[in-house]
Amino acid sequence: MTTPKSTGSRPKAAGHAKRPVPGRSDPIRTAARIEEAHRPPSQYAEPADQPPPLDEMAIDQAVANVVKNADDVLNQTVAQARIAAQQLREGNYNMRDVPVDVQIMGLRMIRLARELSETTLNVCEQLLRQFTKVGRPPVPGQPGKVPPFPSTKPTGYGYSPASQAAPPSSYGTPQTAPPPERTGLELTVEFDSQAKAIAHPAHLAKPRLPVTPDEISVTPLRHPTDKGDAIVDVAFTVDIGGSLIARIAIPPGQHPGVYSGMVVTHKQDVPLGILVIEVIK
């Protein structure tokens, strides 16, 4: 809060003081304008007719500039041709200069044609790109909610916040041995067919070398007594959360029973584990 120098019981002024009007009331958010606003004042003004760089122009402005530039080149060329024609008419033509003038004109026309063609293509390309922008990005809220953060509650040692059970401590011996280290892959089994089947939990070891899901396979799933045909249509993928998924197609009429196969990767000899499913009647 500010008060005038004469604090206290000064007579009330006729009107209240008013703040000066600021030059602007919002931050500048775009790079080009920030640079402009923050540029130190220069004693040399930039040429007024200097066009802005192409990448800062709107498409209509860019097209206008292209047309203007093309006109300039055309006008210059036409003007030079008129001078040459005038010189020819007045008998001032130097034969040694003719090829040069013609050459210059020819080259200029070729360059003009090339520039116009290239420019036309550029403009078309820009327009095409703008068409692609019709596909707008999603609007807020459309993609669905992302689940909240999971609890960071440690899962080891049977911990719970309210538990008064003896925790691990460097001062004491744990009351129970910690569970074996879980270094395996989380495997989810999905069935593609209408046949009823369930998967029995299986522990898969992690591959020793990096592998893609395509490099993981399973030997044909066989019934222990070979009562049913082996199930061979098994594909591995990874879901968005990183879990390994086995998709199994059970042929119609598959004999009920338990089927199993070894999950392998060609990058190592030791299988990753055994996949066990049960086809239900």
């Binding site: 809060m1 500010t2 008060t3 005038p4 604090t7 019981s9 000064r10 007579p11 009330k12 002024a13 009107g15 209240h16 003081a17 008013k18 703040r19 000066p20 600021p22 602007r24 009331s25 919002d26 931050p27 500048i28 958010r29 775009t30 790079a31 920030i34 130190p40 192409l54 990448d55 498409i59 820009q126 692609t132 922008k133 990005p137 807020p140 809220g141 993609p143 992302v146 909240p148 953060f149 999971p150 609890s151 960071t152 509650k153 440690p154 080891g156 911990y159 008064q164 003896a166 691990p168 401590s169 460097s170 004491g172 910690p178 992690k206 990096p210 592998v211 990874v238 968005i240 990183g242």
Partner: protein
């Protein structure tokens, strides 16, 4: 305070007579701290200054220089004595093997100091940030460690052949160095593309980005499939890629609205729609950012909510805008390091401070275009109408006490015996009331309360001005909780692998904590504890907000925080401080150090020992922490707004250009308020006000 600092600059030659009206006995609002028994520092929460707080550091550096020039330099020392650089951060996550995994990262020091003038020609643009991203990501790859095992730590490069071999072996474990290099190379490519991008190239850029991202995601996912220790890299890379793709798809690079284009999106939803995996969206990295920003609606941990634009703006400024160090630790409490020097310097300039003045009504003129009156509860009168002297010496430096000095106040002893708390919204006891009139007592007003208090101090404005009403409803705040412990054993002895870090994304309710051993020497202990540790987090709101008549509300919530803190020490903390527990698995309460200044006869034993520590619930409306929820930016009002002739506003809840609850947002807002009143400083001199 930043507004007062600017208006009272010597360059103005006394043109503005500034008076600061402050409820209670100390400055700083929710940044205030106090000294309790044994001179220990008692904070509202955990305050760390980030290395991009250019405007804040510039103000404090000027303050220290001015004090030094005025012969008061020895009171507070040099600014570099007050802040020390910190480049290490740690995040925690539940480990798949049980317990917690600690993700640590060392941020590389960068040239200069916060508050230095920006290099000539440097402006903040998104291509600039992307160029910086490559360097940082490479540094992260090299310096990230997981549970002490380096991915490729810089400290290993001693040049000894066996160490180099081990490092190479680790790189090979990543899937060969070539793949790591490919990752870096791809990021370099993205940076190059970004740097040279124009609006018309957006389509090409997007196609390239999506191709690179798709192949990188596949590579990273394969790596993760084989080795979960790379998860941190996977998650950070995934989030980075989603950010770049999203910014390109939304044309953020070139839109005149900058990152405001995506302010209506929730940050994690935005990242998800542009390809980030659910796993990355639940990563400790992102959770740490939400925890630090307290981005949970009503403090409900099931409702994380931060706007994408400000979330990215804050992240970009945090990771790519810092100078000197990533973070700066304060030598002592925020009150001691920030508000005491400012108070001392501004007193010397002639600024007046009226403590124990609580604003109860900012009266609007009938014409509706200016502030006509200001009504205050005078909470206490000083004896002989002397100026209240708010500071006390602790360890040789002027500090704010944790409570008022009754000896300076009329009926001060009665206030103590009756338990007056002039900082409590619910304690309306007062000695007097005073009303100031426009043109007689003041010309201009800068309202600097927290946004949660605006309905209570400016009810006429909220009732008559739909924008003010909408601001109070839509600019959300959360309550917070904090506790501090002083311990006779340091964290290394308790099993924390250290060195000292700020740790985020930890178990609720206290997800963020920091070893504050460095402040203990500034306290007044006879027998110093080995360390002190500060914890803080959001405090969930009740279904119905408390009424003004609910006088017990603060006490109930404070008691709730105590229970939370005691449970926390007996629960999650055992995962990181195993040495704090005895053979039976009980927290060793005796390691808590009770004040030794005679204020406690005998330190309680067992769990009751916690009663000697410090905890608080920040539930006062003005203490509530402002968050940036999707779409809320359009309800913020700028200090430059000209609706009222003689009024401006300031605080981290205003449209300061940086819509985050932090010191820098508050200081930027204060500078804008000063500009609104006197045209100074120039807007171009407020660092990063003009920013995408």
């Amino acid at each position: 305070m930043a507004t007062a600092w600017e208006l009272s600059r010597p360059e103005h030659r006394g043109k503005y007579e500034v008076t600061v009206y402050q409820e209670g006995w100390r400055l700083g609002g929710k940044g205030a701290s106090g000294r309790g028994p044994s001179g220990r520092i008692e904070e509202h929460g955990l305050h760390i200054w980030l290395g991009f707080y250019d405007n804040s550091f510039r103000m404090m550096r000027e303050c220290h220089a001015e004090l030094d020039a005025g012969g008061m330099g020895d009171l507070y020392g040099d600014w570099q004595d007050a802040w020390t650089p910190e480049n290490d951060i740690a995040l925690c996550s539940a480990s798949e093997q049980g317990g917690f995994a600690n993700w640590r990262a060392h941020m590389p020091p960068r040239p200069g100091y916060p508050g230095d003038p920006l290099p000539q020609g440097q402006v903040f643009t998104l291509p600039y940030y992307m160029a910086k991203a490559f360097d940082l990501f490479r540094a992260l790859i090299l310096d990230t460690t997981v549970n002490g095992h380096g991915v490729a730590t810089a400290t290993e490069s001693t040049g000894e052949p066996d160490q180099l071999a081990r490092r190479i072996a680790k790189l090979v474990k990543l899937g060969s160095f070539a793949t790591t290099a490919a990752l870096a190379e791809a990021l370099g490519l993205l940076a190059s593309l970004s740097r040279s991008a124009t609006p018309d190239d957006a389509g090409t850029l997007l196609t390239s980005l999506e191709r690179v991202c798709a192949s990188m995601r596949q590579w990273l996912e394969d790596q993760w499939l084989a080795d979960s220790s790379n998860r941190f890299l996977w998650e950070v890379a995934d989030l980075t890629l989603a950010t770049v793709v999203g910014m390109t798809r939304h044309n953020v690079w070139f839109d005149p609205r900058g990152l405001d284009v995506i302010e209506d999106f929730e940050c994690r939803e935005f990242l998800h729609m542009h390809g980030a995996s659910i796993r990355s969206l639940q990563s400790p990295f992102l959770r740490g950012l939400y925890d630090l920003s307290m981005g949970y609606v009503n403090g409900d941990l099931n409702r994380p909510s931060l706007s994408a634009g400000q979330g990215l703006r804050g992240t970009l400024r945090t990771f790519f805008g810092y100078r000197g160090a990533f973070m700066w630790r304060m030598r002592a409490g925020m009150g001691d390091v920030v508000f005491a020097p400012l108070y001392t310097a501004m007193r010397a300039r002639g600024v007046k401070f009226e403590f124990f003045h609580r604003l109860t009504n900012m009266g609007m003129a009938k014409s509706g275009d200016h502030v006509e009156s200001l009504t205050f509860d005078v909470q206490a009168r000083t004896k002989d109408a002397r100026d209240y002297d708010p500071l006390v010496p602790v360890a040789g430096r002027p500090c704010w006490p944790s409570t008022f000095d009754p000896d300076q106040l009329i009926d001060g002893d009665r206030m103590v015996s009756e338990g007056w708390n002039p900082e409590s919204h619910w304690d309306r006891r007062r000695a007097d009331e005073v009303t100031l009139e426009v043109s007689e007592d003041f010309d201009f007003v800068s309202l600097g309360v927290g946004v949660g208090a605006v309905p209570h101090v400016a009810p006429e404005f909220v009732a008559r001005d739909p924008r003010w009403k909408a601001m109070c409803e839509e600019v959300k705040t959360v309550a917070s909780q904090a506790f501090q412990v002083w311990m006779t054993e340091d964290l290394a002895k308790l099993g924390w692998p250290g060195p000292a870090y700020i740790t985020g994304a930890f178990e609720k309710p206290f997800d963020t904590w920091c070893d504050m051993a460095h402040v203990v020497p500034e306290e007044g202990w006879k027998d110093r504890p080995a360390t002190s540790v500060y914890f803080c987090a959001v405090l969930p709101d009740p279904p119905e907000p408390p009424g003004d008549e609910d006088g017990d509300y603060p006490a109930r919530r404070t008691e709730e925080v105590r229970g939370n803190a005691e449970d926390f020490l007996q629960g999650p903390i055992r995962e990181v401080w195993p040495g704090a527990f005895d053979l039976q698995g009980n927290f060793r309460w005796e390691i808590l150090k009770a004040p030794d200044d005679g204020s406690i006869d005998t330190a309680p034993v067992g769990k009751d020992r916690f009663a000697t520590q410090y905890w608080r619930a920040n539930v006062n409306p003005s203490d509530r922490y402002v968050i940036h929820t999707p779409g809320s930016y359009r309800y913020r009002i700028s200090p430059l707004d000209m609706t009222y002739d003689n009024l401006t506003i300031c605080g981290d809840w205003t449209d300061s250009g940086f819509h985050s609850g932090c010191v820098e947002g508050a200081v930027m807002s204060g500078l804008l308020a000063a500009h609104a009143l006197c045209g100074s400083p120039k807007l171009e001199d407020i660092t990063a006000y003009d920013h995408p």
